[in-house]
């Protein structure tokens, strides 16, 4: 019993203290920090402006529109392929426009030939009969004149009746008029087309030509061409689908010049005063911030725009404005694609220290 009193209880007590010490130790081990799967980008600049950037093509990502709605019949360029300036990217069904173009061209040809016909006048075959007719008239005149001469040569006026003489005189005048008429006829034929007729024919050609141009334009509108050399970044139509004209939520084809990429950095309106265009800037890859590249200033968008969150939600409401600054990035420096987000860090002038008092924790208002 003495052992219990003298030894066991103190031993138990020491054990208890040890247990408490263990409990204190084990129960208050610092929680091992849960590391992220990558370490976030640390800015190389002591003072800086941070911004979120989105990669875009140098030309911006151009959402090409369809000028003339219709069925898509051919897509000569695949996604990712490079198109030269003027290459056809989308071919819209053009059977009707083609037919109209043929008709207009035929009409033009008709008017052109009409003009040529007018210009080729007089037709020699038409001249000859008229010349012959003139000869006939001339012969008839000579004949009438002979008859009148014979009558005039008669010395005795009683040998001929007055009536006969008058008839012969009339016959000469008639023959003269006939010659004159035949001569005019010949001249008319020989003169060829009348100038106003030629003018009208020319005008008709102009009208027909305009109609052809219009049909050609219509025909051209069935082809969506690359306005500049670039890469096909997105194709949202397939052969056989109907491509609508006008502004769509989704562009038929997105084209971009990716020889140089641009980073569009959004700088919060609160930080714009610290931003300097000539400052050094770097873009960091999200997901692996050890990959970064120097970017060079290109331009500032003169109009500040509301910040676009990138949640993709259509019901977004924001009231922060951001200054958009464009930086150029060599695609060889950073493995990025247009549309990708990057973190941008721009060196800034040292911020003047704390203009305002730190906010104290305020109690419940009394």
């Amino acid at each position: 019993m003495m052992i219990v009193r003298l030894a066991l209880l103190p031993i138990l007590s020491i054990a208890g203290i040890c247990l408490a010490a263990y409990s204190v130790h084990a129960g208050n081990l610092p929680i091992v920090p849960a590391m992220g799967i990558v370490t976030p980008a640390a800015s190389p600049f002591k003072t800086r402006v941070s911004a979120s950037g989105i990669i875009e093509a140098k030309s911006r990502n151009i959402a090409l529109g369809v000028g003339r709605p219709g069925l898509v019949t051919a897509l000569p360029h695949d996604i990712g392929s490079t198109a030269a300036s003027g290459d056809i990217l989308i071919q819209i069904d053009d059977r009707d426009t083609k037919a109209r173009l043929f008709a207009r061209r035929a009409e033009l040809l008709g008017t052109q030939q009409e003009l040529a016909r007018l210009k080729s006048l007089p037709r020699p075959e038409e001249v000859a009969p008229k010349a012959a007719a003139l000869e006939v008239r001339k012969a008839q005149l000579a004949d009438a004149q002979n008859l009148l001469e014979l009558a005039n040569k008669v010395a005795d006026p009683r040998a001929l009746s007055r009536e006969d003489l008058t008839r012969r005189q009339s016959a000469v005048r008639e023959a003269e008029a006939n010659v004159s008429e035949a001569q005019s006829q010949l001249q008319l034929i020989k003169a060829g087309a009348w100038q106003p007729d030629l003018d009208i024919a020319s005008a008709k050609i102009a009208v027909a030509q305009a109609a052809v141009s219009s049909a050609e334009a219509e025909q051209e509108q069935t082809q969506v061409r690359a306005p500049f050399a670039g890469e096909v970044l997105q194709v949202n139509v397939r052969v056989g689908e109907y491509a609508a004209a006008g502004q769509a939520a989704q562009a038929a084809i997105v084209l971009g010049d990716v020889t140089t990429l641009h980073v569009r950095a959004d700088i919060d309106e609160m930080d714009t005063w610290r931003f300097r265009p000539e400052a050094v800037a770097r873009a960091f890859l999200r997901g692996n911030p050890s990959i970064s590249a120097k970017i060079t200033f290109v331009a500032i968008e003169p109009l500040m725009v509301p910040k676009r969150s990138l949640t993709g939600s259509s019901r977004e409401q924001v009231d922060t404005r951001v200054l958009q600054v464009l930086y150029a990035l060599d695609p060889k420096d950073l493995p990025v694609k247009p549309g990708q987000l990057v973190d941008v860090s721009i060196e800034a002038t040292a911020a003047p220290e704390a203009q305002s008092q730190p906010i104290q924790s305020q109690g419940v208002p009394k």
Partner: protein, 393 residues
């Protein structure tokens, strides 16, 4: 004489046990109650403790504590990143949303959205799967306790919707699907988190996915977690962030305290439980004091005899102090040992128990003060004692 003092102490088994029991019980009561109180309070900021990688928590200036967050504009993140001395800053989404279980029942769940790129701020311990699995489509990581309890469903129900006889509780497993605000979520992992105050199920996912679960709101950025650059004092950096961005930047420690203070000020939990703890403390003090005082009173005649034999007051005082020290130490050891055993026993259960080094120290101090006080009080009796009194009885 010391031997006589110890003999006096241990001589009477019943009394010896009684005094040790009294002091031990007092130590147990003080330690255990305080630990439970500390544990309960620590639960209020368990989420902050769990997320221990960042140094600073940046919130809207009006945010008072971790459970009620006013979201900020998304550009606030870039502004914090632009503050000199910030090594990095990542966004976090945290809100209470409604989750629908595979069996159609719904539960409020805390959805935590981690930065998509880095997945910083994840749970402290992953039991199944891995954090990187969150990259999978619709992936979420559940806390394992909720998966086994609150989010578990019965294998069969009777017509009233109650568990059918013999039905087993089926925990949510990796691969199961649930809905959060009508959006699909696939369990890709299970994690262990510290229990929080309200013990709502925790669901970790990526920030952008959390936003798809979240109801439409103008601002969606609940928290910014920031890390100070090497050599930068987080507290100073917090002040700098607050000054330049007008946002509220608190260190993990400050934010934890903010949370405790908020609960102290605005809820009855602290005061109610505090009274219980204080009472426990007082009861412990009373028992220990009373026991030891009684013990000295009982031994008064022996002291009288010693005094009559010529022992000086100083010697008697030393004897009483030795007795009190011995009984106090042994009793204290037994008490805190029992409390620690209790703590180890309830570890991981619903009961909050957290023994920080302050608690055994405080209870040691308390026991020491009680023993010393009761020894002194009883000493007054010994000093005033007429040696003759022994012989009268």
């Amino acid at each position: 004489m010391n031997r006589i003092a110890i003999k006096m102490l241990v001589g009477d088994v019943a009394k010896y046990f009684g005094i040790l029991l009294g002091i031990g019980f007092a130590a147990l009561l003080i330690t255990q109650q305080s630990s439970i109180f500390t544990g309960l309070m620590a639960r209020s900021f368990a989420f902050i403790s769990d997320t221990s990688l960042p140094d600073l928590w940046v919130t809207d200036p009006e945010v008072k504590y971790i459970d009620e967050l006013e979201p900020m504009q998304s550009t606030a993140l870039d502004r914090v990143r632009g503050v000199p001395g910030v090594a990095w800053a990542v966004p976090m989404y945290k809100a209470l949303l409604r989750g629908r279980l595979p069996n159609g029942m719904f539960r409020s769940v805390i959805v935590v959205g981690l930065d998509d790129a880095t997945l910083i701020g994840g749970p402290p311990k992953i039991i199944e799967g891995s954090l990187a699995e969150l990259r999978r489509a619709d992936g979420v990581i559940l806390d394992i306790v909720s998966a086994r309890t609150r989010l578990a469903s019965y294998s069969a129900l009777d017509e009233h919707g109650n568990p059918a006889p013999g039905a087993t509780l089926l925990p949510l497993r990796v691969g199961d699907t649930l809905q959060i605000n009508d959006r699909r979520a696939v369990v890709v992992g299970l994690c262990e988190v510290s229990r929080t105050f309200q013990s709502q199920p925790m669901i970790y996912t990526t920030f952008s996915r959390a936003l798809t679960y979240a109801p439409p709101e103008r601002k969606q950025l609940s928290l910014i977690l920031a890390k100070a650059a090497p050599g930068i004092d987080p507290e100073t950096l917090g002040l700098r962030i607050t000054a330049t961005t007008q946002l509220r930047a608190r260190t993990s420690w400050q934010f934890s305290w903010d949370t405790v203070l908020y609960y102290t000020k605005n809820t009855g939990i602290v005061i109610n439980f505090g009274i219980a703890v204080a009472l426990g403390f007082l009861v412990g003090v009373a028992i220990a004091g009373q026991t030891f005082y009684n013990f000295t009173l009982d031994n008064l005649r022996y002291f009288g005899a010693l005094k009559a034999m010529g022992a000086s007051n100083w010697l008697l005082l030393r004897m009483v102090l030795l007795q009190s020290l011995t009984a106090g130490t042994i009793g204290y050891g037994l008490g805190v040992g029992a409390a620690a055993l209790f703590g180890i026993e309830v570890k991981g259960s619903e009961l909050a128990f957290r023994m920080t080094w302050h608690i055994p120290a405080i209870s040691a101090g308390a026991v020491a003060i009680i023993c010393a006080l009761s020894a002194i009080v009883s000493m007054i009796k010994v000093i005033r004692l007429e040696p003759a009194v022994v012989f009268r009885g």
